[in-house]
Structures are given as C-alpha cells and as structure tokens.
C-alpha cells in the first residue's frame, strides 16, 4: 500500500481523535501522546488496534506485535536500565528496536520516565511508513 507521509499523518490524526478524544488541531507532528494528548496505558493498546485496522488491506494485513510500536518490559533486562537511566546498551536497544523514535535529544536525558515523551505523532507516522515500506519491498 503506497502512501505518502501526509496521507499516513491524516489517518493517524483520525485514529488519535477517536482513541484519545482530542481535537484535530491538537494533533500536530510534534505532539507527545502522553504529555500533550493525555494518553494512558490502555490507550496504547487501543491505538495499536486502530492502526492495525486502518492500515490493513485484504492483501496486506498490518499486524503490530506487542512491544514493536511502544517500548515494553524495559525493566526485564538490568543491562538496559540502571538507576532509572538508560545505559549505553539500553540506548542501543532503543535505536535498534525502535527506529521510529527520534532519540536525538534523549541522548543527554536517558531517564526511564522520559521515554514516554519520545512517542510523538511523528514517531507513529515514521513507524507506519517504515512498516508499510518493508512490507511492499521485495524480500
């Protein structure tokens, strides 16, 4: 399914309006899901399900695995987070598993609490774009 970033953004804006009850003008690229749009933990599952429904076609199911879109179970591995701060290994893991997150400004912060604010509307667009591209490109 070829789709421009603008088209993906428009779909994601609809998803967030439905899932979070926010207004259209609140959904900007930079908006953070938790701090700006008021998302709570169950909302992430709601958003995941809605994205799957929105971007699935008969030919290409759009299935998001648990932990693929949003970081989960970060405390399971003591090498990733120590004293509530991401280690070098933790940062590498985020870069590798969450390429849709913009970690530029997070390099100096690295706090466990700050990771939620990495999830922005733009990160959802990047995630969907990356996933659609990988599914349509030849193996």
């Amino acid at each position: 399914m070829a789709m421009s970033p603008e088209e993906i953004f428009a779909h994601i804006r609809d998803v967030l309006e439905e899932a979070l009850g926010v207004d259209e003008d609140e959904v900007t690229s930079e908006a953070r899901l938790v701090s700006d749009l008021g998302a709570e933990s169950i909302d992430f599952l709601d958003i995941q399900f809605r994205l799957e429904k929105t971007f699935s076609t008969d030919d290409h199911p759009f299935k998001i695995e648990q932990g693929e879109l949003f970081p989960e179970n970060l405390m399971d591995n003591a090498d990733w987070v120590q004293d509530e701060t991401f280690t070098d290994a933790g940062m590498s893991m985020l870069r590798e598993r969450m390429p849709h997150l913009d970690l530029t400004s997070f390099e100096s912060d690295r706090s466990l609490a700050g990771v939620a604010d990495l999830i922005t509307v733009q990160s959802l667009v990047a995630f969907v774009q990356g996933k659609l591209n990988s599914e349509t490109s030849p193996a």
Partner: protein, 177 residues
C-alpha cells in the same frame, strides 16, 4: 461479576459475537431513584444509561473471556465510545449485541450495538445506541502487582448465566483446564 446486568445470553458465536438481553422491571430498586419525583416533576423511572454500559461490558466481557477459556482476568479498561439515544422504560427489553474486533495477549477491543423492544411491540427491535469497549488482561499488564490465583472476574454468578443459556461446556471450561 456478582452484579449481573444481563438476564440471558441469546446468541453466541465463539471468538466473534455474543448477544444478551435484559428485561427492565419496575421491581428494580434503582429505577425508583432514576428519576424520583421532586417538587416540580413526577417520578420518571428509567433504566440508567450507565448500567446499559455495564450490561454491554458484561456481554462483551464474557465474549472476550471465552476466547481463552476464562483463564484470563478480563477487566474493563476503557469506554472508547458510549452513546445511548433513547429512554428505556420499565417493561422494555434491552439487547446487547457485542462483536469482538481484536484480541491479543494484552487485551481486547469490542464494538457493540444496544437495541430496545417496547412492551407494546414485541416484534420490533430498535437500535438505540452504541458502546465500544477495551478490556485488559490484567495479569499481563499490571507489572509489579499480584492478583489472586482464582479468577475473581468470572465467578459463580456468571457461570449460571452460561448454563441457563445452554452453554454448559463453556461454564465448565475453566474448571477442567
């Protein structure tokens, strides 16, 4: 689930949909409070919309719980949408048609239609609203918290509902697994 707001399951397709009905009776205490007479208006007993949301949550919750043989503790986590557009008076019957949209390890999403049958027209079901819900499988999502081993969500009362609907095998599935 001791507080039952459905009377009978009337339709069930495993993993897909469940329908349940609720007969609204003036014998129910809460109808007399909603709305009681005051200085200006006489009493106007109605089924509260909040309890219709609960009725849908119980119908959809059983549909979700049945997917994993009632081993998961299925807890209502979010009312994604709730819209009830008509008053429901005593003598009417409410039907909750719940559809399972998506389920995974973490939880499930359901969509639901609320219908009503008036006492003077037993043939016609009228759509009066919509309730879409999210359920969480709490043992997978509440890191650091522990819950009792037994499934406190699906208690004896709800098994009675399954048995009276002729779904005996479902009612026993938890005990045999």
């Amino acid at each position: 689930m001791r507080w039952m707001w459905i009377d009978q399951i009337v339709d069930f397709e495993a993993g897909k949909r469940m329908s349940a009905v609720k007969n609204v009776s003036l014998a129910e205490e809460h109808l007399h409070d909603h709305f009681a007479a005051d200085d200006r208006f006489p009493a106007q007993p109605l089924m509260p919309a909040s309890l219709m949301i609960e009725g849908m949550a119980q119908t959809a919750g059983i549909l979700v719980g049945a997917v994993n043989g009632f081993r998961e503790k299925v807890v209502l986590a979010k009312i994604a949408k709730a819209q009830i557009e008509s008053d429901v008076t005593p003598g009417s019957t409410i039907r909750y048609d719940a559809t399972l949209d998506r389920i995974d390890e973490a939880g499930a999403a359901t969509s639901g239609i609320v219908l009503m049958r008036r006492p003077h027209d037993q043939e016609t079901w009228t759509t009066i609203g919509r309730v879409d819900l999210m359920f969480s499988h709490v043992d997978h999502n509440m890191a650091g918290m522990s819950f009792p081993e037994e499934n406190f969500v699906f208690s004896e009362n709800f098994k009675t509902i399954l048995r009276t609907a002729g779904l005996d095998s479902l009612a026993e599935s938890e005990a045999t697994d």
